[in-house]
C-alpha cells in the first residue's frame, strides 16, 4: 500500500495554483522582481519573489493571508477528522517584528508556531490530531514524509500537510547579513551564481492511501524518503555531501529502487555557491550517471519551508507530462552540473520515478522519491 498525494495546491510569486506555477516555469521567465520594500535598509539585494496582489488584512500575517485564500476550497469539503501537519520555519514572523518595532512585547506570543497551527486548524474546522513541524528549509518535504508514514502505518486515513513562509524584514535582514543574497535574480547551478533570492509561498497536499476515495490513478505516490543531518556546521553545507547522499540512498532503499530507476531530479538548487555544489556532489555520489536536474528557485525564489512542497508538486506535474521545466536563470552551467541541469524544457523518455531533495540550516536534508501508483 502506498501513500499518495490525492489533492494539492500552491501559491507562489507566479500567482495562484499549480498550473500557474507550471506555466510560469515553462515560460522561462522569472517571477523575481526588484522591490523597494526594504529600500531604506541598505541590504545587499533588492530582489524578491512575492505573491502578487496579496490582500493582507489589518493585524493579519502574510502567511495566514496566503493560507486563507489557498485553503478556502477545502474549508467545507475536508473531513474534519483529517490529521494536520503545518510546516514552517518562522511562520507568522511579523508579530515578532511588530513586538519589537511597536514596543508591544505581548505580540511576540502570536508568532509561536503552535499559534499558526491553531489558526489553520480553526480555519479548516479540523478536529483530528494536529502537529506543527519544522526542519529548516526541508520542513514541508519532511512533513510530507511524516504524513506518508502515518498513512502507511494506518495511523490516519488522510493527512493534510500545509506549509507557508513569507518574505519579511526579519528573514531578509538575516540572509543579507549572512551574505547569502544575490544582487540579481537567483541562477541555480550557474557557473556565475552569486546567491539566493528570497521568495514566499504557501502550499498544501492531502496525503492518503492509494485506495482512498480521493486518490486517482494519476495521484503521485510517495514511494520512499530519507531524512538526515550533516552534523557538520550550522549554516554551511557538508562539502562531501554525506548527509544528502545518505538521504537519497535511504529514499531509494525504502522504495526498493536502484539509482538507475531515478528518471529526473528536482533539486533544492538555492543558487548559493556551496549549497548547489554540495547537491551536485550528492547526486554524483548517489546516482552516478547524469540525470536531468532542475531547480524552481530561479523562478520563485527560495520559499523556505514551502520550498519542498512547491517543488514536489511541480515534479509530480513533470512526471505526468513527461516534460521537465527549465532551470530559470541558468545561463552557463557550473562545471560539475554540465550534463545534468538544463535551461530549456526537456522531454523525458521515461518519467516513472522522480527524486526531490531539500536541505537547510543546521545541516538537515530530506529526499523524497515520487512515482506512479500504476508502476
Amino acid at each position: 500500500m502506498n501513500a499518495v498525494i490525492a489533492q494539492s495546491d500552491v501559491v507562489t510569486a507566479y500567482g495562484w495554483g499549480t498550473e500557474v506555477l507550471w506555466a510560469g516555469l515553462m515560460s522561462g521567465r522569472t517571477a523575481i522582481r526588484s522591490t523597494d520594500r526594504f529600500a531604506e535598509r541598505k541590504f545587499v539585494s533588492n530582489q524578491v519573489a512575492m505573491v502578487p496582489d496579496l490582500v493582507v488584512a489589518e493585524g493579519e500575517s502574510r502567511c495566514m493571508a496566503m493560507l486563507k485564500q489557498l485553503l478556502a476550497p477545502l474549508r467545507w469539503t475536508i473531513d474534519p477528522k483529517t490529521a494536520l501537519i503545518v510546516a514552517t520555519t518562522v511562520g507568522e514572523i511579523e508579530y515578532i517584528e511588530q513586538a519589537v518595532l511597536d514596543d508591544s512585547p505581548e505580540k511576540s506570543s502570536f508568532a509561536r508556531p503552535s499559534v499558526l497551527l491553531e489558526r489553520v486548524k480553526e480555519f479548516l474546522r479540523l478536529t483530528g490530531p494536529a502537529t506543527v513541524l519544522s526542519s529548516a528549509c526541508a520542513s514541508s518535504a519532511a512533513a510530507l514524509t511524516r504524513a506518508a508514514s502515518m498513512v502507511r502505518h494506518g495511523q490516519a486515513d488522510a493527512v493534510l500537510v500545509v506549509s507557508c513562509d513569507a518574505v519579511s524584514e526579519f528573514v531578509y535582514s538575516g540572509f543579507s547579513t549572512l551574505l547569502s543574497l544575490c544582487e540579481v535574480p537567483a541562477s541555480p547551478f550557474d557557473a556565475a551564481r552569486c546567491g539566493l533570492t528570497l521568495g514566499e509561498a504557501a502550499a498544501w497536499a492531502l496525503v492518503t492511501r492509494d485506495d482512498h476515495k480521493l486518490a486517482t490513478k494519476d495521484s503521485p505516490a510517495i514511494l520512499g524518503w530519507g531524512n538526515t543531518t550533516d552534523a557538520v556546521h550550522m549554516t554551511a553545507p557538508d562539502r562531501n555531501a554525506t548527509g544528502l547522499t545518505r538521504a537519497i540512498a535511504k529514499s531509494l532503499a525504502m522504495a526498493g529502487r536502484a539509482p538507475a530507476d531515478v528518471d529526473f531530479i528536482a533539486a533544492h538548487g538555492t543558487a548559493t555557491i556551496y549549497s548547489d555544489a554540495m547537491e551536485m556532489t550528492a547526486f554524483r555520489n548517489a546516482i552516478s550517471e547524469p540525470r536531468p536536474v532542475y531547480s524552481v528557485k530561479g523562478g520563485i525564489g527560495h520559499t523556505l519551508a514551502a520550498a519542498g512542497l512547491a517543488q514536489i508538486l511541480i515534479a509530480a506535474r513533470a512526471m505526468s507530462l513527461s516534460v521537465l521545466p527549465p532551470t530559470v536563470g541558468l545561463n552557463h552551467p557550473d562545471e560539475r552540473a554540465i550534463g545534468w541541469v538544463q535551461n530549456t524544457p526537456t522531454k523525458l523518455q521515461r518519467s516513472r520515478t522522480a527524486l526531490s531533495c531539500n536541505s537547510g540550516f543546521g545541516g538537515v536534508n530530506t529526499a523524497v522519491l515520487l512515482g506512479s501508483i500504476n508502476q
Partner: protein, 209 residues
C-alpha cells in the same frame, strides 16, 4: 521502545534507565559541564544555557542507548515546545533594530529556527539521523515519542533522542528499535508537561530508596 530519560537542570541531573542504571546527582558547576558531556565540544562557550542543558541531557540519554552510540550511527533528534524559538527571534530582531536596522548579527540569526538548538546538539554529538521540531499543544511529549517511534519503525534511524527544554531544564528521552530490555513506559501528567517540573519529578523518582 523508551530506553532512558535523562535530564539536566540548574540544581541536579540524572538518568532513569531501563537497565537499572538510574541515578541522580547535584548539577556540576557551569565550568565543569563539559566533563559531564564527556567529549570536546567546539564553540561550547558560545552556546546558550538552554543549548548546554540540552547537550548535557542528550549526552546522558545517549549513553543509555543499546547498542552504545558510535560516531556515524544514525541517531536522530526531535524537539518540542510551544514557544518554538520566539525568544531567540526577539533577541535577533531587537539587536538588529537597535543596531540601526541595516544589518543583523549572523550569530543571532542562526538561532532563529525551531531546530537550531537540536541541530547544534547534533553537531556536537555527531548525530546524523533526522532532526525535526515536532510540536502538538494537546500532547507534546506523546507526540514526540510517537514520532520518534515512527521514525524508528521506518528505519530512518537506529536510535532517537527526544528533547524537551526551556531556559532552566532539559529532559531527553532515548528510544531504540529492537527487542525490549526491561522496558518501561512513561505516563506524563499535565503538571509534568514543563521540563523543570518533569526534571524535578524524575529527580524525586530516582532518589527514592
Amino acid at each position: 521502545m523508551i530506553r532512558s530519560l535523562a535530564w539536566y537542570c540548574d540544581t541536579h541531573y540524572g538518568v532513569y534507565a531501563s537497565r537499572g542504571r538510574s541515578f541522580a546527582k547535584p548539577a556540576p558547576p557551569a565550568d565543569e559541564l563539559l566533563s559531564l558531556i564527556g567529549r570536546p565540544v567546539k564553540y561550547f562557550s558560545r552556546m546558550t544555557g538552554e543549548t548546554k542543558s540540552c547537550l548535557a541531557a542528550a549526552s546522558l540519554a545517549l549513553r543509555e542507548m543499546s547498542p552504545p552510540n558510535a560516531v556515524g550511527d544514525e541517531i536522530g533528534l526531535l524537539s518540542a515546545g510551544a514557544e518554538g524559538c520566539v525568544q531567540a527571534n526577539e533577541k535577533y530582531f531587537t539587536d538588529y533594530v537597535t543596531s540601526g536596522r541595516t544589518m543583523g548579527r549572523g550569530n543571532l540569526f542562526i538561532y532563529t529556527l525551531p531546530t537550531s538548538t537540536l541541530c547544534e546538539v547534533a553537531i556536537a554529538l555527531a548525530l546524523a539521523g533526522p532532526a525535526m521540531y515536532v510540536h502538538a499543544d494537546a500532547s507534546p511529549l506523546l507526540t514526540l515519542t510517537r514520532t520518534a517511534e515512527q521514525l524508528l519503525t521506518d528505519r530512518e534511524a537506529d536510535g532517537m533522542l527526544a528533547l524537551w527544554s526551556d531556559s532552566r531544564a532539559a529532559v531527553c528521552i532515548s528510544l531504540t528499535a529492537g527487542p525490549p530490555v526491561d522496558p518501561f513506559t512513561v505516563n506524563f501528567t499535565p503538571e509534568e508537561l514543563a521540563p523543570l517540573p518533569l526534571a524535578e519529578r524524575l529527580f524525586a523518582m530516582v532518589s527514592r530508596p
